[in-house]
Symmetry: C2
Subunit: 460 residues, 2 copies
């Protein structure tokens, strides 16, 4: 059998995990591997960008897990930097590739094609949105550009548009750089997509505490630029905020145009449809990462969740299958954690609103408890909220906000939800207890108990 060829489009987590796994199973004699990357970097941590901009991480290179040189040297994976895939022909099994530096195009044949084009920041279709000084932050190159823009122009006032994870993390990063920040969010409170309103309110308090001017429930209507073409203010339906710098935190959407134009099935979430082995609708074409849609194990609905952890897992699954092995991706349950303004914010499963949208009737219980035994030095507070199905009592989701121990504690709830546990069953869980780490009744157990009482009361 002659040597086959795998072309990977996109050199970050999903694509390069697939490439590495395929190489582990098939040597260079058997499989040629080429990665096509629009930018200058491979396998970097996009989640680390706020820490680069904020200054906690000193150099952009620190965010790179593996360089193109390492892929070439250690795995015989060739990386074409500054190259963009512009067209796929799934019948002829070829990709059109443009050399962004030279401007030339060529057509490259493949046996296996891996689409890992990631996500792109949502840019609002508003007057002035193309002004200079307005940044989306998605790739490492985006982060480097923003970082040096701040260093060179020394902005005094920034407006962040959108109060999701990225918006909040970027707001904090800019406060750390000494910039006065206004955050404009159209919803009634930040993190409106991920958290219930009562939990989002805790996040709002935290960001105001570090001096961010929070403008919730306001909608941006335009951006104003000066004669130099640089943004100078953000206009909303209620006010106008002067700004030397604007960061967009309006979320991301799958960069699926290339696949759609090739006739590859794209789902209602906007992500490429894949089966459990990460195969797309086209023969020999695979996909992974922010560009695909996944099954939410609790709602059963297709979702697109842009997170490095999924991209790595999915890329690994695709690579094992391309390499002739067998692996499947089991779906997601919406776990996400972040650190914002000194507090930890975590969620898993469905929020109250997502649960309602999926057709569930729910009961909820929220408890405030100490993070350590009350007498142990340094104990602070955390709030744990549980969302359970009415009647069945099945755990549907959970959210935790607190000063310590919140982020990874949500994993306990994630595993419980993954296994379809009821809140009643959860009350008996054998969780670790020692005074430095939790009260004798872990917050998760107290919340489960309260939720179980709610379930009984609702239908008792």
């Amino acid at each position: 059998m002659s040597r086959e060829r795998l072309i990977v489009i996109g050199g970050d987590a999903g694509g390069m995990s697939a490439a590495s796994q395929a190489r582990r199973r098939r040597g260079s004699d058997d499989l040629e591997i080429i990665a096509v990357e629009r930018g200058a970097h491979t396998s970097y941590s996009a989640c680390g960008l706020p820490y680069l901009v904020g200054g906690a991480v000193k150099a952009a290179e620190d965010l790179v897990a593996r360089t193109p040189q390492e892929f070439e040297r250690d795995h015989d994976i060739r990386v074409w930097l500054w190259h963009e895939a512009t067209e796929i022909d799934v019948d002829k099994r070829v990709v059109r590739v443009r050399d962004l530096a030279g401007g030339t195009e060529r057509v490259e044949p493949y046996d296996h094609l891996m689409i890992a084009t990631g996500a792109e920041p949502v840019r609002p279709d508003l007057p002035g949105a193309d002004a200079a000084g307005i940044f989306g932050v998605q790739t490492l190159d985006d982060g480097i550009v923003l970082d040096s823009y701040i260093g060179e122009t020394k902005p005094r006032r920034a407006v962040v548009v959108g109060g999701g994870y990225i918006g909040l993390e970027m707001a904090e990063a800019m406060v750390e750089r000494g910039i006065a920040v206004t955050l404009v969010e159209a919803s009634p409170q930040p993190m409106d997509k991920g958290l219930d309103p009562d939990m989002g309110a805790l996040v709002a308090e935290a960001i105001e505490r570090i001096g961010v001017e929070l403008r919730s429930g306001e909608r941006v209507t335009a951006f104003e630029a000066g004669d130099d073409g640089v943004v100078r203010a953000v206009v909303t339906d209620r006010s106008r905020y002067p700004a030397d710098l604007v960061v967009l935190g309006l979320g991301v959407r799958p960069r699926a145009r290339l696949a759609r134009e090739a006739g590859i099935a794209v789902g209602e979430s906007g992500g490429i449809v894949v089966d459990r082995r990460m195969r797309t609708s086209a023969e020999g074409v695979w996909a992974a990462g922010d560009v695909v849609e996944s099954v939410h194990r609790i709602s059963g609905l297709p979702v697109n969740i842009a997170l490095g952890t999924h991209a790595n897992k999915q890329g690994r699954v695709a690579g094992i299958n391309i390499g002739g092995g067998y692996a499947t991706f089991p779906g997601v349950i919406g776990t996400a954690v972040t650190k914002i303004c000194g507090i930890q914010v975590a969620r898993t499963g469905l929020s109250s609103r997502e649960a309602a949208r999926a057709g569930f009737e729910i009961v909820t219980a929220a408890v405030k408890s100490t993070t350590r035994a009350g007498y142990y030095p340094g104990a602070t507070w955390m709030t744990t909220k549980i969302i359970a199905e009415r009647r069945s009592g099945r755990l549907l989701g959970a959210q935790i906000v607190g000063e310590e121990g919140a982020a990874k504690r949500v994993d306990v709830l994630a595993v419980a939800a993954w296994n379809g546990m009821t809140v009643e069953e959860m009350t008996g869980l054998d969780l670790g207890y020692a005074p430095p780490y939790s009260p004798v009744w872990d917050p998760v157990l107290i919340a489960a108990r309260k939720a179980a009482e709610q379930v009984a009361a609702a239908d008792g």
Copy 2:
């Protein structure tokens, strides 16, 4: 119906949780509740004693969750302090109670009896073991006595006998009090009962790092006392260690004599046998806490595990049932966490040796990984070990040792084991990821992946 009477023997977690829950469901007109307590305190945190002795917790009262006065005032539960139950007649349904202050005895009738007598430290049957200055630490009164002994006699050299949780925590506490500490442990490494040898070795390094002289594999043969009757040295099969103070950390055993003498069934673990509702073999007699034996959900074997978290849960279950409700205790899986010498130590399920003893053939995988994204400031190391059943790949147990994030991370593994997950399934878990809290592949996922590879290799 005339008023019934519940007598609770033992005023700590198990007993008082039961009393409180029974009261929630049955008013004072319907149920009289009396708690018989040998000491001076109710509902305290025995797990907090090392922090009292070490000085992190300033006052013994800080460890008390609820005082006798609060029980009387808020719940109409009478507490007889300094009273000891000396005999139970399960046919006549009476308890003989001795007033330890006055020396008198009386016989008290009950309708429901709750046995929550806890555990007692194992005292070695060795020459000189009754010398003054040799302490077991189990009750709050024990802790107070040791604390003031240290304050008054200002010991310079202490020997801790036994390298389990309590021994290690007490060794560290005495180092914090400025005392030179030698720890003598008969096993090859500390925490031999809870941890595999490779993981115990990490704990040994940590305690030596803070200056504890660790003598593993040595057996104590005698204690020497001076003419004043106070201990002055500990003799082992290899050496002799001068000591002004000795703390016993040889573990505890159920204080089940009272129940056994009453003809109540006691299991091979030494704990009182109870059913799922915490009923003993005698009509109307219940038990909870360190004195009972529980079913280990993974081995299926009866075990006695002395931990406040079980005592609280079991007491609550007993109290709900005594109060006319319905609740069951689902068993344990051996989760335990502690903080020792700046490191976090955690385990759940079965150790390799326990698994072998229960008849399992196993594969194991241990991984060393960073506690945060490698580039995130403050990232340190943790080691995660997984024990899985051969062929089935079912998660049987796990251990984590690390500088941060180890203790409560084991809860993720505890919930996975609780639900009978295989390591292969676990590789897909949707765990939280953000750079301050974990690498993009959580250590739990990496360990599960390695274990899954071991399972495949062993029978592939």
